[in-house]
């Protein structure tokens, strides 16, 4: 039996595509990873009376607030892109929304990098104390996820540019979107826990 015939037999059972399911399971694991980081932070903080420890450089709360808005905007623009692409039946001109989301992601991570350099200059390192260590670890883990997200978005842009069938493109957009929404959505929580609380 040929491959396509075998595929046709299986088709009726497929409610959700392989990629979407796979991404869903991956994100569950990722969520647990961040849960691990967050609960460690909370446990260690609970035993400290003064937080942040005195004599430490202040984290850039305001600048990062603006940066938070940038990342959220990126997420929203991506959502707009996904809608427009799907409702227009694969209109290629919508790609400017995707590029905008990508650009904002890059801006976000660059600003973060700049702030890191400044903080390192002020003498906040992983060695100085737990405050610094948690900051670099949690924010660093998130920054890595943003970097992966940017790679995925760029890959998607190339993929769409090359011209793919509408169905496959929609699938890819949804899968990339799931990852990007996760990265965007977890950020305000981390911002609140690490910068403000």
């Amino acid at each position: 039996m040929s491959n396509s015939a075998a595929a046709a037999l299986e088709q009726p059972q497929k409610a959700v595509s392989n990629g979407i399911l796979g991404m869903l399971f991956l994100l569950t694991t990722e969520a647990m990873l961040f849960a691990g980081f967050i609960s460690s932070l909370i446990v260690n903080r609970a035993t400290d009376t003064i937080w942040p420890p005195p004599g430490q450089p202040r984290l850039p709360v305001e600048a990062t607030f603006v940066n938070t808005l940038i990342l959220l905007a990126s997420g929203v623009i991506y959502a707009v892109y996904a809608r427009k692409y799907k409702s227009s039946g694969g209109d290629k001109s919508t790609i400017k929304f995707l590029l905008a989301a990508l650009l904002l992601g890059i801006v976000f991570v660059s600003v973060q990098g700049y702030e890191w350099m400044r903080l390192l200059g002020f003498g906040l390192t992983t060695k100085s104390n737990l405050y610094g260590a948690y900051f670099y670890m949690i924010i660093g883990a998130h920054a890595l996820h943003v970097a992966v997200g940017i790679t995925l978005l760029s890959y998607l842009a190339v993929f769409i540019k090359k011209g793919q069938t509408f169905g496959r493109a929609c699938d890819k957009i949804t899968i990339t979107g799931m990852y990007w929404y996760f990265v965007v959505a977890i950020w305000p929580l981390l911002y609140y826990l690490v910068y403000i609380l």
Binding site: E10, S17, L21, M32, G36, V43, K127
Partner: protein, 537 residues
């Protein structure tokens, strides 16, 4: 699978070396030479790490998962074949990284497989390779190896779940999926749910080692017990990750050789789901003496004893399957029954340990060592061998030598008990594990414990030697065995419909499924089994 078996040999060799040292302290060990105290610590640590992460997980979850899941649900291949390959290469890399760690300055990690700080962190502040200090290179490499291995298993796990959900043959409804597939998938879910916090904890450990942070250093506001929580949040579910696939395999083998439907198929699935939920709320029973709040200890005591209820249910169902069946003793069936018998000993001693009053006395003694070997050895090795002897004809299209199979089973069974049964007494007598040389502790280096140590060691050597029979049988049968029939055990599940060995794509025509997997001895049927793909007449 071959990589997993090779790692099992490495792990076994390490065990041989340190057991020899315990029985005959200070003597030169055949094939190895003098064992120093530092090496002793490295060896027990890596024995644990290898056996759990590089043998237990890849053999059952990895090898059999990849082979069985697609073929048992009637799919041509996994959902993401490339991801599968990638997962294998990650796994191989992780094994190599761990092996390298034996040869870096200071040697491999030596702070126990649980990697508790401060032993796992000290290397940073004290880089000199002293008696107990974990060493910078060794522990960093070990953490990297573990992280790679988890990435590999995670990729495999995503693949299993997606394959089971999306690639089932027509008619393979959720409640017609064979138990082995269900259990491997549930084990995967447990793994994926619990691994995140451990990776977070390991990251923090790596930060402490390499970047000099103080997450686990109380002098700098950190908390060493935090790591224990993160570790055991994964570490305890992990034992169910190792156990469930084996129970699934038993769920296939026992009905086939009892010629009877599996007793309580749906309850078995529900019970395993209950145990999956409970498995993530029992972790702190490893920390009863770590100074946790007594109220917390009581909670975890209760949860631990609760979780034995679903597992008792699973075991009773498997035994009830035997009840009144036409039992055929075959090689895989012997392993399956052996697994049930031995696991029972492990499970019963677990009940004692679950209550924190007893655990405080038995903690870190050989009683614990015997207990977890009685649970892990049957679930990893007996389960693996049962599955191996059962599916070997399908894997390779060849038959294994039966007589050698029985000899292998009985020798393994006898010598396994020889190693670990005596250790229960040593543990109750107060012998502490992880001691390099008992001659230094005169109050426990007395008869009968010295003799018991010797019995255990000689049995361990024989146990390892018995595996030569298995390797011989494996290689010779594969190369020159008799050709196996398509369905030598007359089983119902879909893998027996395919050729042996299955061709690329598994089936010539995509199978359709008409019934559950356990229709044995159905009244009025012409044979005593009804394969899942056979249309009713």
């Amino acid at each position: 699978m071959i990589t997993g078996l090779f790692m099992a040999l490495v792990g076994g060799f390490l065990a041989y070396v340190f057991r020899y040292n315990l029985a005959f302290p200070g003597e030169s060990i055949p094939l190895f030479g003098q064992l120093s105290a530092g090496q002793y610590n490295q060896f027990i640590t890596n024995h644990g790490l290898i056996m759990v992460f590089w043998v237990g997980m890849p053999l059952l979850v990895g090898a059999f998962g990849n082979f069985l899941i697609p073929i048992m649900i009637g799919a041509d291949d996994m959902a993401f074949p490339k991801l599968n390959m990638l997962s294998y290469w990650f796994f191989l890399t992780s094994a190599i990284v761990l092996m390298i760690s034996f040869f870096v300055p200071g040697g491999a990690f030596a702070g126990g497989w649980t990697m508790y700080p401060p032993l796992s962190v000290n290397g940073y502040t004290d880089p000199s390779p002293s008696f107990l200090s974990a060493i910078f290179y060794g522990s960093s490499l070990m953490i990297i190896a573990v992280a790679l291995e988890f990435t590999a298993i995670l990729m495999g796990g995503i693949n299993y779940l997606v394959t089971t959900i999306n690639k089932r043959a027509p008619g393979m409804t959720p409640f017609r999926i064979p138990l082995a597939v269900w259990y491997i998938d549930i084990a995967t879910v447990i793994f994926m749910f619990s691994v995140g916090p451990l990776v977070a904890g390991a990251f923090m450990l790596l930060f402490d080692i390499t970047l000099g942070s103080g997450f686990y250093d109380p002098a700098r506001g950190g908390d060493p017990v935090l790591f224990q929580h993160l570790f055991w949040f994964f570490g305890h579910p992990e034992v169910y990750v190792l156990l469930l696939p084996t129970l699934g395999v038993l769920g296939e083998i026992i009905p086939v050789f009892s010629r009877k439907p599996l007793f309580g198929y749906k309850p078995l699935i529900v019970l395993s789901l209950i145990s999956a939920v409970l498995s993530v709320v029992v972790w702190a029973h490893h920390q009863f003496i770590a100074g946790i709040d007594p109220r917390m200890a009581t909670f975890f005591s209760v949860a631990t004893i609760l979780i034995s209820i679903p597992f008792s249910g699973i075991f009773l169902s498997l035994m009830a399957t035997l009840w009144g069946g036409k039992i055929k003793i075959t090689v895989p069936m012997s392993w399956a029954l052996g697994m049930i018998g031995l696991f029972l000993v492990g499970g019963f001693t677990g009940l004692f340990l679950g209550s924190n009053a007893f655990d405080i006395y038995a903690h870190d003694t050989y009683f614990i060592v015997a207990h977890f070997h009685y649970t892990l050895f049957p679930s990893v090795f007996f389960g693996f061998f049962a599955a191996f002897y059962y599916w070997f004809p399908k894997f390779t299209g060849k038959e294994l030598n039966k007589a050698l199979g029985y000899i292998h089973f009985w020798l393994t069974f006898i010598f396994f008990n020889g190693v670990f049964f005596v250790l229960f007494f040593n543990g109750l007598g107060g012998q502490h594990r992880r001691i390099y040389n008992y001659e230094m502790f005169s109050n426990v280096a007395i008869e009968p414990y010295i003799t018991f140590e010797k019995i255990a060691t000689i049995s361990a050597i024989c146990l390892i030697l018995s595996q030569v029979i298995f390797l011989w049988n494996f290689i010779v049968s594969w190369a020159a065995g008799r050709k196996a029939e398509k369905n030598p055990w007359q089983a119902n599940t879909l893998e027996w419909v395919a050729d042996s060995p299955p061709p690329h794509g598994n089936f010539h025509t995509a199978p359709k499924v008409y019934r559950g997997a356990y229709e044995y001895s159905v009244p009025k049927a012409s044979e005593d089994f009804l394969p899942q793909n056979l249309q009713a007449d």
